[in-house]
Symmetry: C2
Subunit: 170 residues, 2 copies
Amino acid sequence: FTEEPSDRAAKPDAFCSWILRAQPQGARKEGHSEFRLRVEGDPDNYQPGSTYRVTLYATNPAYFRGFTLIALKEGRNGEKEEDYAGTFQIIDEEDTQFMTNCPPAVTESTPRRRTRIQVFWTAPSSGIGCVLLKASIVQRKIISFQDEGSLTKRVCEKGKPFITKATDKP
Amino acid sequence: FTEEPSDRAAKPDAFCSWILRAQPQGARKEGHSEFRLRVEGDPDNYQPGSTYRVTLYATNPAYFRGFTLIALKEGRNGEKEEDYAGTFQIIDEEDTQFMTNCPPAVTESTPRRRTRIQVFWTAPSSGIGCVLLKASIVQRKIISFQDEGSLTKRVCEKGKPFITKATDKP
């Protein structure tokens, strides 16, 4: 997992640099088979110009709040507009939208718990070759307050006897 | 860390049950001193009816996107309205608001990167005793797409030679 996109990867002014920064350099985290990207019919090949339903889903009990979906020509890193292949179409605007700072990418309309999103993807015209559709999942991570620790402050009423708890540090 | 609030802790219909579920049962995670809750003047005692500036902040380079802030009478678990002590006042409505499903709690107005929030807290009237102000921090966790794995799908143009990459599974 990456906590938040770091500023170390792509050049800050590259096209769609934000989502590229979300991709850790060389880090490979396995074990997330509870999230899957599926292209309708599970094709190895696409017909140029054809449209396919693309689904991103989480297997119960997993779920996600946000996501990013892109389609790149094989071997491209996404830093140029021409690296992107085909076009997405939004099915449900309440659920998905194009990313304002990266127009070829699809993202969530609002962060909320979801187990599935779908969009259409129309394949590029002939001559492009292989395409990689890629998704990122965004979840929330909560650091909870504790009865001790830096996220809790205990204050007692002035003038009342200050009863020290056994766990209090002197 | 908890990934997301689980449904195992507080009764689902308890007052403010959502944020109580965010508190892990008995789990104590240390090492998050980069996030701190501070009451103006760092008092051990409060004057009944007095108002204090309360700050939640992250030490650079840490930051947070969301938070929850509550004030509980000592020994109470927050499942009843009378467990809460004093009242918060919003300083900047662009930044903080009361939680719609838990009115004594303060939360973020919009999720965005922040390193500090401030609210006022007015202490309860005389006779309440000790109060615990508690904060939870919310961050994003991103599961990035990989060139292999369940969040990436490779599709090649039909009719083009299918060049198998060395890493492809048969």
